[in-house]
Symmetry: C2
Subunit: 406 residues, 2 copies
């Protein structure tokens, strides 16, 4: 039996994701496709465009058999922690192959890269440190360090965002469960940051841009599977701007030392962050005021997420280093049957009913989920809170294409 | 030269306040009337209905010569600290008589009460402690303890809110500057908590109720001097409900121990406060869920204000126990001339331009003022922030009845 895992955000799920899932099943001959998906806040340090329950429906309709949540603890992190957290969860769920999308498209170059990097690790780390110390941002430093190693031809191009992520998955597999295989599918259509479209595929960034610019909603239809389109049509769409008034409040009233306790807030950023909150009329302006060459945009957005959720260094440290149950977001019949099989053999329990948070990691997810609904007020906010804690996993019948418990 | 002080909130300034100011000037033969007025947040633990700048205009048009700010450090406190802070400021401004409104109406009974209480202080404190220990709220405990002392007839009735405040002023005068005199004017019209009206006087509570219940704004006109009416008509009116989404955010994302650091949060309240924020759809409902017999409604509202402004015990402690400049809110020609006279003789500097906060007390006022504008968003919020820090005192020409720098 082949169990294949994918690591996703689906922000939102589009035709490119559909292609990836279909190709993955074909390539890995998967009997079960398990998706581990970011919850309320994402790796780029942003709120999910649409609630994870909607994105779970999109994933199930698109071909995933089982969707579990990538906790806040990992979903709002640098690629290395993001990858490591996701791989750990997939490994515990009995996944034997992880299949990721990449610009590269073939898996052997990733294995070659992994071996090359393992052989030159010390040299590489030293070179990065040197660059960082002179004020270069981490990604740029990593890129420069990599080239200083004079790598052989034919390795994946690490200036491409999906190649980078893929490489972090490879490293995490190597570290956590080397017996697990990796596979890759070449990304189709427009590039990650590209707003254009190709063969009915437009990147998630491009689609979000269309939505935020108030284009006719109907215009996004060619790039979205039907379920995605209808979920986006009926759901609430969130952007950072919806949360900015709350970020501002925290930053303008914080007691001394509070900001220093927040995860990812490093020396020098506290004052910039607090000062900018008194000046900036929008989140985008706030970011521009806080931005320095030293930190990437996404790194600072992640910091902003941790400020918004008041996640301290101590809390994140505990959440990263203690075990927690895996939360099930949705399944189809095949997924459910598979779940029954593995339920009592996974190292971490699988939670189908939310209930009380009984781990540091779940506690952060609770905070993140409550924070996610900040743009709502009054009755609506409380109803969303109640729903968040009463939710059962989405159940999808693949044969009839019906969501059973909606 | 007679300098008389009044301690006020003017939330909003109404015909009863106008009567009080006129009677005060007459009774004390005041050459200068100095009002010390609560800023953004008030003694009952509420945001001011309308911004302090508007309330300053009302006060000047109503007869005050000088209006200074009662800092957040004192304005959001139990009556004893509220009174003490206000009396200290008035004393430093050279005030020789404080004239307060009371249900009692004659000053001698207050002096009698003061002497009686000084003679029985130990007994009184012990009796209060006993009651508080069995879970009685402080005001009720104080009332029971008072009666247990078997006070003589004719003392002010301490079940009346303005008599209580008046008595706290007397105690503060006795403690801070016994040479300062006290005077009182009998309150006219409806009672403090009474929503009715009498002789064109309706309590501030009654007027706020009319406004919150969406009655025709014009209906409030008979109870308000002209300036009050026009300020209320053009100003933004704030209630706790405007701030509740932000309180909720703080309470649902707080890291461990955060709430315990907040001023006025005492054991047992943290959990109730945090839990209620997940359940309550409005501030009023939140209060009802947090309320216990042990704490009064206003005590809990004050706690909520400190949560909203993230004011810690340490911050409040420092602000209460270190000196700070007095902030001028407004003046007329007489007030300005008086100010020139005393400028270099007061113990605390008088700040006419806001500038940088250079004391713990001013820092809390900055936080309070930024918090006050939370109901605004985007450009409007930033404009309000900028205004708050660029503001110069209101200048009123009594002869022409013109505000000069508007």
């Amino acid at each position: 039996m082949n169990i294949t895992g994918v690591i996703v955000e689906y922000n939102p799920f589009h035709n490119g994701h559909l292609y990836h899932l279909q190709k993955t099943r074909e390539t890995t001959k998967a009997d079960i496709l398990v998706a581990v998906m970011s919850g309320s806040f994402l790796q780029r340090g942003e709120p999910a465009l649409i609630h994870k329950r909607s994105r779970t429906r999109m994933a199930l309709a698109g071909g995933a058999d089982l969707v579990v949540e990538l906790p806040y603890t990992f979903s709002t992190q640098h690629a290395s922690y993001f990858a490591d957290g996701a791989v750990r969860i997939l490994a515990d769920l009995g996944v034997d192959t992880i299949c990721f999308g990449s610009e590269q498209g073939r898996i052997q170059p990733f294995y070659d890269l992994l071996h090359f990097m393992k052989a030159h690790n010390n040299q590489y780390q030293t070179a990065i440190q040197k660059q960082v110390q002179i004020g270069i941002s981490y990604p740029e430093a990593a890129s420069r360090a990599f080239h200083s190693l004079q790598p052989p031809e034919g390795l994946p191009d690490l200036s491409q965002p999906n190649n980078i992520l893929g490489f972090h998955y490879m490293k995490a597999i190597d570290h956590r469960k080397p017996s697990m295989k990796a596979a890759t599918i070449q990304r189709q259509g427009a590039g990650y940051h590209d707003a254009g479209a190709k063969n009915g595929i437009k990147s998630a960034t491009g689609i979000r841009l269309m939505l935020s610019e108030g284009e006719d909603f109907q215009e996004t239809a060619p790039f979205l599977p039907e379920t995605s389109f209808s979920e986006l049509q009926k759901g609430l769409l969130m952007t950072w701007e919806n949360y900015y008034p709350f970020l501002q409040h925290l930053l303008t009233t914080q007691p001394p030392d509070w900001l220093q306790r927040i995860y990812e807030v490093e020396e020098g950023l506290e004052n910039r962050a607090a000062h900018a909150a008194r000046q900036a009329q929008s989140f985008h302006e706030w970011m521009q005021r806080v931005k320095t060459k030293r930190y990437t945009w996404t790194r600072l957005q992640r910091m902003a997420v941790h400020i918004l959720t008041q996640t301290t260094k101590a809390e994140m440290n505990e959440a990263m280093n203690t075990d927690a149950p895996t939360r099930l977001l949705g399944m189809n019949e095949a997924g459910q049957a598979y779940l029954k099989m593995i339920r009592h053999t996974t190292a971490q329990p699988i939670k189908t009913n939310r209930g009380q948070a009984d781990s540091a990691r779940e506690h952060l997810d609770d905070k993140a989920d409550l924070t996610y609904w900040l743009p709502l007020t009054g009755t609506e906010r409380i109803r969303a809170y109640q729903q968040a804690f009463a939710e059962t996993p989405v159940r999808y019948e693949r044969t009839t294409q019906i969501f059973k418990n909606e």
